[in-house]
Structure formats: C-alpha cells, structure tokens
Amino acid sequence: MDVGLTMSNSAPGEESSFELAKKVIQKFVQRQVFSETKIELALVLFGTDSTDNPLSQDGQYQNIRVHRHLRIPDCELLIEIENQVQPESKEGDWLDALVVCMDLLHTETKGKKYDCLNIALLTDLNTQTNEESLEVIINNLTQSGITMQFFLPFPVEEDKEGQGDSERRDPGHPGTGKGLSREQKKNMELVKEMMLSLDVEDGLDEIHTFRNAIEELCMFKRVERRPVAWPCQLTIGSSLSIRIVGYKAVTDEKPKKMWITVDAQSHQKDDVKRETVYCLDDDNETEVQKDDIIQGFRYGSDIVPFSKVDQEQMKYKHDGKCFAVLGFTKQSAIHRHQFMGSQILKIFAARDDEHAGVALSALIRALNELQMVAIVRYAYNRTSNPQVGAAFPCIKQDSECLMYVQLPFMEDLRHFTFPSLENKKFTPSDAQLSAVDSLIDSMMLVEEDENGEQRDLFKPHRIPNPAFQRHFQCLHHRAVSPGTPLPPIEPWLKAALDRPEVITERCQDPLDVLKRKFPLTEVEKKKKLKTSAQIFGKESEESEAKKVKEDEAEEYNLANIAEAPVIVFISLFGCGDPRVLPVCQQLTHRIEQLLSNKNTQYYMKSITCIQAFREQSVKLANAEHYNSYLQSLKGSIPNRGLEVFWELLVQDGLTLISKDEVEGSTVSKAEANQFLVAEEQKEEAAPAPVEDTGDVDDLVSVQCLFLTCLYFYSNTCLCNCCDSNGVKTISCVSTWGVCDVLSSQI
C-alpha cells in the first residue's frame, strides 16, 4: 500500500486515497481473520519516511517498509492497521515496491505448500517510476506464477469505445482521464501494459477502484464448510443396488464458534467453573452423589425407573447406514410444508463409477418423466435414528442428482383444526379483494424486462446471514476499539434486509387504499405483559430518547393529523346529516386547535381543513356554516397574530362562498373577492415570530379528544383507539380506518 505524500490529497469533502485504500485493506484483513482462512498475508508500505526492507542497499529501494512478514492475519494486524498505518510524507516507486513484494513472496514461501501467490497493489500512481525494470518484472511475475491486482482511486480508461462497461465505473470517481497528472497517466500505461502482458484472461478486470472494492468487501465472507461425502448404496429390493454418495447441500448453518464463559476480571475461561449437584427434595436438601442417580421416565402419574443399561438393551436397533427405497409415489403427494429436518441432501453416483452413474441417471430420469419421487428409509449410521424421506429427481444442465428431504413421522404431525374463514363476518367484499389484487400487482418481486427476461428483485438466498455479519462486525469492533460501545448495524445490511426501494415506492398507493378498505383495530388487552422497564420506570431514559426523536416524530404525526379530520368530515358532512352543525363545530374546533400552534406545518393542515370545509359546503349548497366561520376567523386574525396564516389563505383563494356558487349564500361575488383583498391592504409587514411548540404528547391528546367526539356522534366503537398508549395506535386508526367505519354507520 502506498502511504506516500500524494495519497493524502483529497478533494474537499471527499475521503483521501489513503483513507480509502486503508479501508480496503481493513475490510480484506477482517474477512480473513473472521473466516479463519489459511491464507498468509504480508503488508508492505511504500512512500514511508523510513526504509526497512531486505533489498535496500546503496540508496536503492528506499522509502519502502515491510510492515509485516508473511503470516496468517490476526487481530493484532487489524489493530496495527487501525493505529499504525498512517499517511507519511515521502514518495515511493511502485515498481520498486513490487519488487520488494516479489522478493518477500519468494523467500518467505520457501518450503511451504501453496495454491497461489498474489500481490495487491494500492496506490494513486502519482510517483516517478523507473520504467526500465518493467519488462524484467513482468517476466519474473510470469515465471513465479504471481498474479496481480491493482486498486486505484480512479477507473482504468477503456480503450475500446462504446462498451457500456465504462458507464458503470465512473460515478463517484473523480478525474477519469482528465484530472490525472502526467505521472499518473504514464504509470497507468505501465499498469495496463503489465496487466495485458501477464498470462491472465482479461487482465484489466483485475484493476479495481477503491470504492468498488470497499463495496464488494463490505460483507464478511460467508461461512464455508467443506462438504463431507457420505458413501452408501441405494437399494431397491434385495438385489438392485446403486453405489451412491451423499452430500449436505443446504442446511441451517450455525456459527462455528460458541461463546465461552469467562471471568469478568481476568477474562480467563479456566477461572470459571460450572457444576451441577443433585439433592433430594427434602427439608435438608440432602445432596446425592452422581453415582447414586438413575434415570426414570414418566408414564402418566407414575415414574418408571429405567436404567441406562436397560435402555441401551431394550432400545430400537437397526443395521446402520442405509438408503433403501420403500416405494414410489407421485410428487404431488408430498407437501412442501411437511418437509422435516434441517437439511437437503444431494445424492450422486459414487465418484469414478460410471456404471453407477448410468444406473442412477436412469432412476433420476424415470422419476422426472413420471413426476414421481422415491420414498426411502435413510439412516446416516448405526447410532443415528433412521428417517423416512423423499428423494426428488433433480436434473440440471451439467449434473443430475436425487434430492433427499426428511418427511414427518405420524408422531410429528398435529392435525389442528381451525375455524373456517368462509364466514360471513370475515368474507372480503369485491372492493376489498381488488385492493389486495392491486397490492400484489405493485409488490411483485419478479418481473419481466423489455427483453422478456425475468428479473428477481429480491433473492434471500443471495443475502449473507445477517446474524453472522452483525456478529463479526461487533467482534471486529470490540477487537479494534475495546472499551467503546458496540456500533449500530451497518446501513448496507439494513438495506439488504428491507423492501427494495422500487417496491416501496410502487406499493405506496395500493397500501393506502388497502388501509382504507380494511379497518384494523387493535383490541385492548386486559393483561399486558409488563417489561421490567415499565415496572421499574424508565421515565428518565425515555424522555431523553423522546427529545432526540422529537423532530422526526413530529413530522410523522403531522402527516396523519389533519388528513383524518378532513376525511371524516367529508364522510359526515357528505351525507347531509342533521348533525351537520355539530360536525362543523367539531371541524372548526379542530382548525382552531391546529392554529394555536404557530407553525407553517400546522397552518398547512388548517388550510387543508378549510379547503375541505369549503368544497363540501359548496357541494351541499350550504354556505351558512362556512361563511360565518370564515368571517369570525378573519376577525380574530390580528388579535391572535395569525397574519402569516391569513396570507396563506389568501394565496389559496379561500374566500367566502358567494351567491354565484351557492344560492343560499348572502354574499355577492364582489364581496367575496373583497373579503380577502381588504385584508391584504391592511396587513402589516411584521409577521409574528414563528414559535415551535410541537410537543408530541399534546398532539396525541388532541387527537384522542377528537376521536372521542366522533365516537359520540357516530356511535361506533372507537373508544379502543383512544387509549393514551402511544402515537402508533392512534395514528393507524385515525388516518383511514375511521372514515370507513363512520361512513357506514351514518
């Protein structure tokens, strides 16, 4: 890695090449440490202030430091990288550094067995180089079979124009071509020459940018386990057998290591001991020696003593390893939800046995053509319990196999009966069904693109197990920065577990419709499980958290708060109900409440309410309530310092309802127009200072009050949602749920 002077250059607001390169190395080492691979690793820095390498002599190979010799990477290296690898101020020749690396690989792999040798070079190429040695280096690399990878701050220029490839590389990489210094350009040519002359296919693909590398390295390596072969014979009856070998193909993978218990002070495992003692259930709790204990089992209210020796003698015994066909049945008789166990085995013919291969192929193809499966008895070995399972045929382009999955025993099944959902109370209406239909449409994760090719937007089987990722993230953090709290979950991981963004956008409207069509009300529980926090009071902590969240929360609440009254209002008012007056009063009361918060967001909500009020009044040809409210509102503007709000009202042209619109109105069109204009002239410049009194709790209680009032009018059972339990209950009900209930009731 280049740690020289130019590496710490960066455009304002951007991370320097040094920072990025360091991250690449960190991520890479992390992966090696936590996957416990046997890869050995050395770290050579160049551009260093000091020089420390075996080749330095007579002023040659200067400013190159071998930071670590070839070894399996460990936590120490991680800590060193974190703390000791810092930007330095000299310039180092990257070709010289390469030679040092090659020498190191050569001398330190002597007498070791290895699969491959690789050098990864991280630099900005902004140094002077002695290019004469290039050819020798290339020859040497080829001879010793060392592969090269370059990591640069900028992408390699594509020579071939018109290849879409360059597109995907550029965003975020400054100075493609243009911003490069003369040295960089020259060096780039050298790099290209080197990569193209090495005996690797598409050498330029091994030139990466820092950013891409970080992205690709961000996840910890998946847990890998070498598959263990299980040789056996597939038998059909007494005389037909096929030599097979089985492998675990899919299984619920657990972390390799368990947590060990250590003493809090010494951090030593040996200091802690766990011991189990047995005692009689008497007053003295008389201790009983382990040797004096025998096993027993319950048989109803009786306990039957059953010694281990007897158990061993009487237990079910079998002949060991087997894969015997019991018979064949239709694939459709095997239900997906009755798969048991935690694994899928793949069964192939024994290696290097072509005859077995053909015989098994005949079985696989026969099953496939008949759409059948083999029901088999499977026993791993003599000591394991035998299973019954199904072997499905599986034919892929390059291989054929049987896939074995365990099936249930009679004892495993519970035949629960559930009430039918074909019940009048629960049968969804056509409108409801179509709402679900459009939700499914909008949330289909598999779609066809223009070329008719299927695209799957979300593949869980490509996502690394988040539990492992998080586990290693925390372990790494603790190893490198002990004594600091654990970091939050990494954003990329959170995103990987969430709905794809396209879907989130697309399903918004169908979800809103769904919410309206399906009223959902949480039933209040008499007894709720109390957490210890609730019992012991977490008040202080909570209020702290609340304060922090207030800003987000406020926005969230506001979003819901005004819509509900408007909709409810529309549905109530819209029915020409004799209770219009109280409803209007309710709405105006609500508007007044909103206005008591002098804040633009609240003003906007009020405007929405007034707008709805006006529209509905016009629709129903009832101008009286609206006009009288607006007039009284206008009168109160100066006293309450609501000039800013009035301005908004004027902008939206929300004036009185005139005779032209509604016959019953006592206001002429001119008067209506004048109503707003006059105020405009009167208006004084200074708007009232905007005060933010947005308190979440206040908002909630207002909302509750409002719903309670509605309850009074509509006789619906809304009281449930009015508990002061939290914002969520209320907001979910208030937005859409209510209006459906209400309109149907009225």
Partner: protein
C-alpha cells in the same frame, strides 16, 4: 395393542434454534393444567351389540377412552387431568354420594398405570360383564350427572386452563321426554358452560338416526365457529372416525407466538404461529435417587476455580477467540448483537409459486392463522390475502423475527385453502404455511461428479420398475420406530408385563414384496446398465492404495511437536493447519484435557493452555 400417537407438549417452545432465550414477547404463556371428563352413558341401549357381532357402543366408547387416557394422555400430556364418569347406572358412586345413578369411575386426576388397567378391564365381552356387575344400567338423569361433574371440577385445587367435557351416548332423548329432567339438565349444562367448561357431544349410532335437535343442541357448547352450526355431523359408528373427531376436539391449538404481519406502515394483521409438524422426540428423563426411586432436584452453580466463591451473573462475561485474541463482551451485549428488530412478520413482496425452490429448506414449516382477538379486522384482510395469493398462485415473501433477540430470517407464506372430507371434517385448515428460506451461508459448494446420462431404453426400464412399486403416500403412514419402541418398553415396565410388545418397523423396506413385484425386471435393468463383471455391492475399487503402494498403506510416522514448535504455531496462528490426530497428540503431550474432539475445540484448548 392400540394404535398410538404422540405429541410432545413442548409446543410452546418449539424452535430448532440452538440457543433459547428464556423469555420473549412473542411467546404465548400458558398457565394451569388441561382437563378432560368423559361422561359415558351406561344405559342398556349402549350395551346392544351390532348385527354382525360388531362391538356395542359402550365397548367402542371404552376402547376409545382407553386409547385416549392410556396412550394419548399419558404419553403426550401426562400432567393433564382426566376423569371417567358413567351416567344412567344402577349403582351410584360419587364424592358425597349425593347423586343417584351417577358412577364416578375415576375422578379428575393425572392418569397412571393403575387406571389404565382399570379402564382396560371394561373392554370387550368380559368388560361388559364387569360393567354390568359394578355399575349396571338404571335410571337416567343427565342433570345430576352434569352437576356431579361440576363438583369434580370445583374439587380441584389446581388451576385449570382448559376444561372439556365429552358426552358419549346413543340416546337422543335421554329422559324419554321427561321435561322436568330435560330442563334440569339444561340448567346444569349452562351452569357448567358459564364456568368455562366446553361440552361436546360424541353421539353414537342409534337405530333410526340420532337427532341432536331433540335435546342435545341445548346442552353442548356452541361451536367456536358459526359456520359449523350448519353442518350436522353424522353419528360415528367407527372407532377410527370417533377417534379422529375426539382428537380434533381434544388437541388444543397452541400458538408458538402471536405477532403482527405488517403489510405497510400502520397495516398490521394479528396472526398466530402454530407448529403443525414438530419432530417428536423421546421425552426427557427424570433423575431418580437409586435407593428410593424418588426424583432428585438439580442445582447448577457457577463458581471461581481459584477462590471457590460463587460467581454472580455480573462477574461473568462471554468471549470468543479469533485471530489470536480473546474478544470479550458483556452478557447483555451478546443478546443485543442478535437483536435486529421487534418480533413480527414484515411483507417484502410477492413471487410466483414456481420461484420457491424445492431445495430451499432449512427447517420445518409453521402455520399462520389470523388472531381476530388481537386486532379486529385481521381475519378479513388475512382471508382476502389468502384468497388472492391462492388464486394468482403467488406466495408472499416476508422478513420474520420469531422472538425477542432473534435475528431475522426470510420466509415464504404459501396459501393453503381449507379442505373438508366427505364427513365434513376438516382435513387441511385455511391459512398460510410458513416456509423458512436459506441465506447464502446455508448453501454448501459441491463439486458434482459428471457422468453420462442414461439412454432412453435404460430410463424406460427403470420406469417399469418405478411403476411396479407405486403406492399412495400418506404423511401419517409411518410411525417412528425409535419412539414407539421406547414407549412399549416403558409400558412393559410400568404395567409389569413380561416383555414389551413387538413393534412393526414401518420404515423398513418390505424386501420380499418388492422382489416379488419386480420379478425379472431387476435383472433386465441390471443387464442394461451394468456390465457382467460389475458388482455394485463390492467395496469401491481400492484406488488409492494401488496408486502409491507402500506409502499409503503404512501409517505415517508420528509427528511429535516440540513445545517451541507448538508455541510458534500458536504465535503465527497456524494451528489450523495441523491435522486432528496431531493436535490430539499435542493435547496429550501437554496434558491438556479436552471435552470435545472437534478440531476447533482442540485448537482452543491448546491455545488456552499455551498462552497461560
């Protein structure tokens, strides 16, 4: 003796997760015991035998009770309380002897071996005789019988969580039209129901048909689901049917968890998660004191090896060893690492059914059903979702956190429509099956061997074989021989039998039958695929040995590591490169005691030793 079935009672904590958190919000806590009262009609009508020597209704009922009490209850839920009460008897026997013609054969308590034998004695010809002698047939007052049962319940000091009473009778007018007695029975029944007892009628065959509407419709509890009211179940005349019906009633559905299925902001459908298929295991053993056979209690303590003092939880931390370093965390941090979100299901989207791959399987599925009691409106939305998913042949993909501090998994929700059999008994319930999907880590990279495919002639011959061995698979067709054997053994010991009953191993291939059915086909197929000299039974050709004679056969000379070498390995973190035998030798050499034999455990042990 009897067909038996087991369901272990561990529903509440069924997970295959290796680590279990003791408490979680999603859990549904059950307190108290379950109880079941068999109220059996002992009138003369019950003892009438069928025409072709078929067992009498009484005999069938007793058979069923034996099966239920002795086997199901004892094996599956031994803490449940069971009672057997006869009514319409000649003799009377009840706690205060205040009721005539009611005979409490067994009062409410845990069933045991003795009771099994007592009920067993009532079976068959002999049993009928015994019954006639001990209980006899006499007048009937169902009201008194119910009252007596109510007393049984009230005498129980234990907390009961579920109370069920099953009436077995073949008389639809037990009081022969005596309206006073009818009314009394109705009053007592409603009293019972008020105290939370569920009354079921298991009506048996009666010449001329059993008319529930005459009397019993007012006695039994209304079905939990209204639609059921419409379908009048036929009386049972077969033990199998009756057993099925009793089991359907008796099996309590217990939710593993109740949580929300979140479709989007504020759209939460309350659902219950049920385990419909759980690997049954031998129930755990109880430790007994050899001398007295009394159960012992176990106490586990954690203490400091040097000081010997007991360690408080706060004096313990957790650690993992990686890259040459012990990485230490607080115990609550270990939990916190696993927490991603609160328990629940979150909808990601939908996919066509064919996108669910057969081999995407990591653990048994669970079942989803709406919980109207938690969120009103859940059933309607759930039902709409179910209907549409099924119609369009899609599944819902969800993120699933099953309990507090459990990391997420992705699951596929597969729609399952309700199915009924001819008798209107539900075969499959409506709801979603939840299939757990694997993550990238759960796949293993295999290197499949390459072989030429079979020719069509070879395939066709195999097709003939396959067709000869067709059978109709039923999931409940195979019993677990290991568990069956265990219970036979227990039964033999408990009931002092000479030897346990033989079990039939149903998952053993019936080789003779197969051979017979296939006849010459096997040889024909072998001729097509195997050359004459080939014997698949023989051991695989010893390739390796022939390849390098001498070297491979001889055991490699033992590599003894010096302490320095070993320390260097520890230092350089290269212990992993050593083989297990070498590591084991090293352990022995340095006197390191290891509990396990896994490579990692050996390495950890060595590291711990050499660094200290």
């Amino acid at each position: 003796m009897l067909a038996r079935s087991i369901d272990t009672k561990s529903d509440t904590e069924v997970t295959t997760e290796s680590t279990r958190s003791p408490s979680s919000i999603g859990d549904y806590k059950i307190t108290g015991r379950d109880s079941l009262v068999f109220l059996v009609d002992a009138s003369k009508e019950m003892f009438i035998k069928g025409e072709d020597g078929e067992p009498s209704n009484f005999d069938m009922t007793i058979n069923l009770v034996t099966m239920m009490v002795c086997v199901l209850k004892i094996i599956s839920s031994d803490k449940d309380l069971v009672a057997l009460v006869f009514y319409g008897t000649e003799e009377s026997k009840n706690p205060r002897n205040s009721f005539k013609h009611v005979y409490v054969y067994h009062d409410l308590s845990e069933p045991g071996a003795k009771r099994v034998q007592e009920v067993d004695a009532l079976r068959g010809e002999k049993g009928a005789k015994l019954a006639a002698e001990t209980i006899g047939s006499g007048e009937t007052s169902l009201g008194d019988a119910l009252w007596c049962c109510a007393n049984l319940y009230s005498d129980i000091k234990l907390r009961l969580s579920h109370k069920r009473l099953m009436i077995f009778t073949c008389r639809d007018e037990p009081h022969g039209g005596d309206s006073v007695k009818d009314r009394q029975a109705r009053t007592k029944a409603s009293d019972l129901k008020e105290t939370g007892v569920v009354i079921d009628l298991m009506h048996l065959m009666k010449p001329g048909g059993f008319d529930i509407s005459l009397f019993f419709c007012d006695i039994v509890s209304p079905p939990e689901d209204e639609s059921e009211l419409g379908l009048q179940l036929q009386p049972s005349d077969k033990l199998e049917d009756l057993l099925k019906r009793v089991r359907a009633k008796e099996l309590k559905k217990r939710a593993l968890a109740r949580l929300n299925l979140c479709l989007g902001e504020g759209i939460n459908v309350a659902v219950g998660i049920y385990a419909t298929a759980v690997a049954a295991r031998k129930p755990g053993s109880i430790k007994l004191y050899r001398e007295t056979n009394e159960p012992v209690r176990s106490k586990t303590r954690t203490f400091h090896t040097q000081t010997g003092s007991l360690l408080l939880p706060s004096e313990i931390k957790k650690a993992q060893y990686y890259g040459g370093k012990e990485i230490v965390m607080e115990r609550d941090e270990v939990d916190a690492i696993k927490k991603f979100d609160d328990p629940g299901l979150f909808l990601i989207g939908f996919k066509p059914m064919e996108k669910l791959k057969l081999h995407h399987h990591i653990r048994p599925a669970v079942f989803l059903y709406p919980e109207e009691d938690e969120v009103k409106g859940s059933s309607c939305l759930f039902s709409a979702l179910l209907k549409k998913c099924s119609e369009r042949n899609v599944f819902a993909l969800c993120r699933f956190i099953s309990r507090r501090n459990y990391p997420p998994r992705f699951v596929a929700l597969l729609p399952q429509n309700e199915e009924l059999d001819e008798g209107k008994v539900q075969i499959t319930p409506p709801g979603f099956n939840v299939i757990y999907l694997p993550f990238a880590d759960d796949f293993r990279t295999l290197d499949p061997p390459q072989f030429p495919s079979a020719s069509q002639t070879q395939v066709d011959k195999m097709k003939e074989i396959v067709s000869k061995l067709r059978f109709k698979y039923r999931s409940e067709g195979f019993e677990n021989p290991v568990i069956q054997q265990h219970f036979r053994n227990l039964e033999a010991l408990a009931l002092d039998m000479m030897a346990p009953e033989e079990i039939e191993d149903l998952i053993m291939p019936k080789v003779d039958q197969i051979d017979q059915r296939l006849g010459p086909l096997v040889q024909e197929f072998k001729d097509l695929v195997y050359p004459a000299y080939y014997n698949p039974e023989s051991k695989p050709a010893a390739k390796r040995k022939t390849a390098d004679t001498g070297g491979g056969a001889e055991k490699k000379p033992k590599v003894e590591l010096t302490e320095d070498e070993l320390k260097a390995h520890v230092q350089n973190n290269t212990l992993v490169k050593l083989t297990v035998p070498v590591l084991k030798d090293a352990c022995k050499q340095f006197g390191v005691r290891t509990t396990g034999t896994k490579k990692q455990e050996l390495i950890d042990a060595l590291i711990a030793r050499l660094r200290s």
